[in-house]
């Protein structure tokens, strides 16, 4: 095959090109021709097609995501906002923290182990590219029904992949989620998040400036893996009848990535890097065009210098390859030598593949012949924008009218007791230890809290005890009932989880998992969820610093529940003050904070006992969330509460069971006068938490709640080895433990 050079393209305007196979629409192809004023070469077509895919260009979502930048709350913590590899926030004492959540959903369905592993690898490189040392990962996961045979294939593979990669990198896994629902059967969600820490002056950006600076590609050799993965894999709905559409999956090499991390941190430390970008989706196409687009000039790349694993790769394939464990750095000429030396020290292959020019074009050459000559912004930042039609689905009213309040309730204390055991043992409410015990949570020696605590917490300075906390949450059932409220509830829950550990919520990242944007109903869910999240972030003062959108999560015509996953980052001045979940001291008083209304729509109880989804999700009261968080943080700082646990799915009883089992202590409880025990235990009203208060602190604590106007109800005492609800029932901890802990191993192991 002859090389399709720029010259050749100009001379052969009529040549047929496979734009449709590469996922481009007719008008998009026409626009490329207009931009270039000729037909694109094969290499250019490859670049535009991957970079203009949904996954890379956010073409369906960006008109909605704009709100995150427009409705910015007052918050001076934000150092780098949306648009970079990850956002950066100031956490004090000269430290900055970067964090982000991303999806690797589709690859993980095809090849669970490698899909999930490379998901961790990708998010870690994003964090590294900001200049930070990665210090922890989290993994919000969604699978199909727990008893479905395919879940037995997908879940163990995903978990082994996340563990296999993250453990080998030496990153503690400090949190995440595991949710089962039939709607994810053909489309599991594998989201992965990472936190990194640096000093303010170490922040690095993805831009290529300074004519004459060298472009260095370093890390793994480039192979034929994942070619076209971005455009084909991430933008197409699965269709079982077309297995040929499944491109080669990518295989990760965590050892290589560990070397890449250490090597990169060392070149940062010696200030050898003027700009840097990780290679993720769209590989070199993305890295070169984004670096050049964000920089001041142009870029020239000699593509034939790229070290290959497979010498038969064509230039188009090299540009599109998604081989893992690669980075691209911009380095001043006199620093190149030292840069290469450090790479050699870490056994990392590094090659100068080009340089920054004082022109305006991204130019790529193959053995001396020009195959790409494009304005980089047109590839990286000026892709298509769709205003997709959206409409509230016609079934939404009926769904909301199907009120969970009508469902049959337990008639006797015995029935209530039985339903509690049933809920606590249900796959979504059961202990996830079988999964999380496969993740290293101790490595790096800075883990203050990890799962099953409300949020993970990492000490970032051993002298001052400064720490950061991270929690991720999302409830697709709530979001299905009301996507606007559902997104806000996800934020509220993560915010509450961070505050429950004593950390002050600072900033937000998100991963928005939805069905096909070509379906107006899905697009409406997306629009509502982003609007809800943006509004709530503004109210709570926690800006969205970055995130990820994953669309086309559906099997055939059926979309997953809209699943916005929200991560909240918090800061704590002294990790000694952190509050764990466990009730550890007999005699301490148990207080319920917040108000309990009858709210069962989308609840765990309605799902487990009645297999029902309908009605409205719990009401959102963001001012109440803020007040609750303030109280929880004060209680932690001033030593007024020894344990705290937020209330979410499963309601009060779920939280009590978790706190009791974790501490190995029981609780004697009294249902407040005039309250229905069933509602008291199972309602999922938001804005609530339970705390255990030492008797000596009771007055101080209740005074504080009273003065600030937060309802605090004394509901019992830590005592014995059972959960005993006066006049209702008693369940031994041992019985609860078996119910809670046997489920997942029984289903999956």
């Amino acid at each position: 095959m002859t090389l399709d050079t720029v010259k050749h393209a100009a001379e052969t305007p009529e040549a047929e090109q496979p734009w449709a196979e590469l996922g481009l629409k007719q008008d998009e192809y026409a626009r490329i021709r207009e931009i270039l004023d000729r037909r694109p070469t094969g290499a250019e077509l490859a670049m535009y097609s991957v970079m203009w895919s949904e996954h890379c260009s956010y073409k369906s979502s960006k008109v909605h995501l704009k709100q995150f930048g427009e409705k910015v709350p007052e918050n001076d913590a934000m150092l780098v906002g949306i648009g970079e590899n990850a956002g950066v926030v100031d956490v004090g004492q000269g430290y900055a923290v970067t964090f982000k959540v991303e999806s690797h959903n589709h690859p993980s369905y095809i090849e669970p182990y490698q899909g999930a592993a490379t998901g961790i690898g990708g998010i870690v490189r994003d964090i590294l590219a900001m200049g930070a040392r990665p210090v922890a990962v989290v993994d919000p996961l969604r699978f199909g029904a727990a008893d479905h045979p395919d879940t037995k294939r997908v879940l163990p593979g995903v978990v082994a992949g996340i563990g296999g990669y993250g453990n080998c990198l030496g990153l503690p896994n400090i949190g995440g989620e595991v949710v089962f629902d039939a709607c994810y059967q053909g489309n599991p969600l594998v989201n992965a998040g990472c936190i990194g820490v640096m000093k303010h002056e170490d922040i690095h950006l993805a831009k290529a400036s300074g004519a004459g600076n060298k472009v260095i590609l370093y890390g793994a050799r480039t192979g034929g893996d994942g070619i076209g993965g971005v455009s084909v894999l991430a933008s197409e709905t699965f269709d079982d009848t077309k297995p040929t559409k499944r491109p080669a999956v990518q295989v990760g090499d965590p050892f290589q990535e560990k070397l890449l991390i250490e090597c990169t941190l060392e070149v940062f430390k010696e200030q050898l890097v003027a700009g840097i970008q990780d290679l993720g989706g769209a590989g070199l196409s993305c890295a070169t065009s984004e670096l050049a687009s964000a920089g001041s000039g142009g870029m020239r790349v000699e593509l034939d210098t790229v070290p290959l694993r497979d010498s038969s790769l064509s230039p188009e394939e090299i540009l599109m390859s998604e081989s893992q464990e690669r980075m691209c750095a911009i380095v001043e000429p006199d620093k190149v030598g030292r840069f290469l030396e450090i790479c050699e020290k870490w056994d990392v292959i590094a090659t100068v593949i080009g340089e920054v020019t004082d022109g305006t074009r991204l130019e790529i050459f193959w053995h001396g012949e020009q195959i790409v000559d494009v304005p980089p912004r047109s590839v990286a930042h000026e892709g298509p924008t769709y205003h997709r039609p959206y409409a509230r689905p016609d079934w939404q009213d009926a769904l909301q009218a199907d009120d969970a309040g009508k469902l049959a309730r337990p008639a006797t204390p015995e029935e209530l007791r039985a339903q509690i055991l049933q809920v606590v043992a249900s796959p979504n409410q059961a202990s996830k230890a079988w999964i999380t015990d496969q993740y290293d949570r101790f490595v790096q020696g800075n883990t203050v809290l990890a799962q099953p605590e409300d949020s993970g917490m990492i000490r970032i300075d051993a002298e001052t005890n400064l720490g950061v906390a991270l929690a991720t949450d999302g409830n697709g059932r709530y979001a299905k009932l009301d996507p606007y409220a559902g997104a806000q509830l996800a934020l509220a829950e993560a915010y509450r989880n961070v505050a429950a550990t004593g950390a002050k919520p600072l900033a937000v990242s998100d991963c928005l998992n939805f069905g096909s944007p070509e379906d107006p109903a899905v697009m409406w869910q997306f629009a509502e969820a982003t609007r809800g999240l943006a509004d709530a972030c503004q109210t709570l003062g926690t800006p969205v610093t970055g995130g990820n959108v994953s669309l086309y999560n559906q099997t055939g015509e059926v979309a997953i529940h809209p699943t916005p996953v929200v991560a909240v980052l918090g800061v704590i001045d002294d990790v000694n003050r952190r509050t764990p979940v466990a009730f550890a001291e007999e005699g301490q008083l148990i207080y319920l904070l917040g108000d309990t209304a009858e709210e069962l729509g989308g609840s765990a109880w309605s799902q487990v006992v009645h297999d029902h989804l309908g009605g409205l999700p719990p009401k959102v009261d963001l001012e109440r969330e803020r007040l609750l968080a303030e109280i929880l943080i004060s209680a932690s700082r001033d030593g007024m509460a020894d344990a705290a646990h937020d209330l979410s799915d499963g309601g009060l009883i779920q939280a009590l069971v978790e706190s009791c089992l974790r501490g190995g202590k029981g609780a004697r409880l009294v249902v407040p006068e005039g309250v229905d025990p069933f509602v008291f235990l199972f309602s999922e009203s938001a804005g609530r938490a339970v705390v255990s208060v030492p008797r000596s602190e009771e007055l101080r604590f209740t005074d504080m709640c009273g003065a600030r106007g937060l309802p605090a109800t004394r509901i019992g005492v830590v005592d014995g080895d059972a959960i005993d609800v006066q006049g209702q029932f008693s369940i031994a901890l041992s019985e609860l433990r078996t119910a809670h802990e046997a489920t997942i191993p029984g289903l999956i192991a």
Binding site: I110, E111, Q114, A220, G223, G224, D225, R246, A248, V249, Q250, V251, D253, F255, Q256, R309, D310, S323, Q324, D347
Partner: protein
């Protein structure tokens, strides 16, 4: 009883970090002249009854659906000589 061996190797286009790690270590250990190393899995199956065509067909199916992950791996099935 017959012994059937199923060899499972990563497809040639798939990255093989294990094989690469071995290959890179060899020169350091003083072993030169090895141009490439690939590492895979070997399963030894003891079959009750003869390793006839029917048995081999079943084992091939087993390899296809279970022993190998054909998204990334190839396999071969053979009766071990002398068994």
């Amino acid at each position: 009883m017959a012994r059937v061996v199923v060899d499972v190797m990563l497809k040639p286009e798939i990255l093989d970090p294990q094989g690469q790690a071995v290959q890179r270590a060899l020169p350091r250990l003083g072993f030169e002249g090895i141009a490439d190393v690939r590492q895979g899995k070997r399963f030894e199956l003891e079959v009750e009854g003869p390793a006839d065509d029917a048995a081999l067909a079943r084992i091939r199916e087993m390899a296809e659906t279970f022993l190998a992950n054909t998204v990334i791996e190839d396999f071969t099935v053979r009766v071990e000589a002398g068994s």
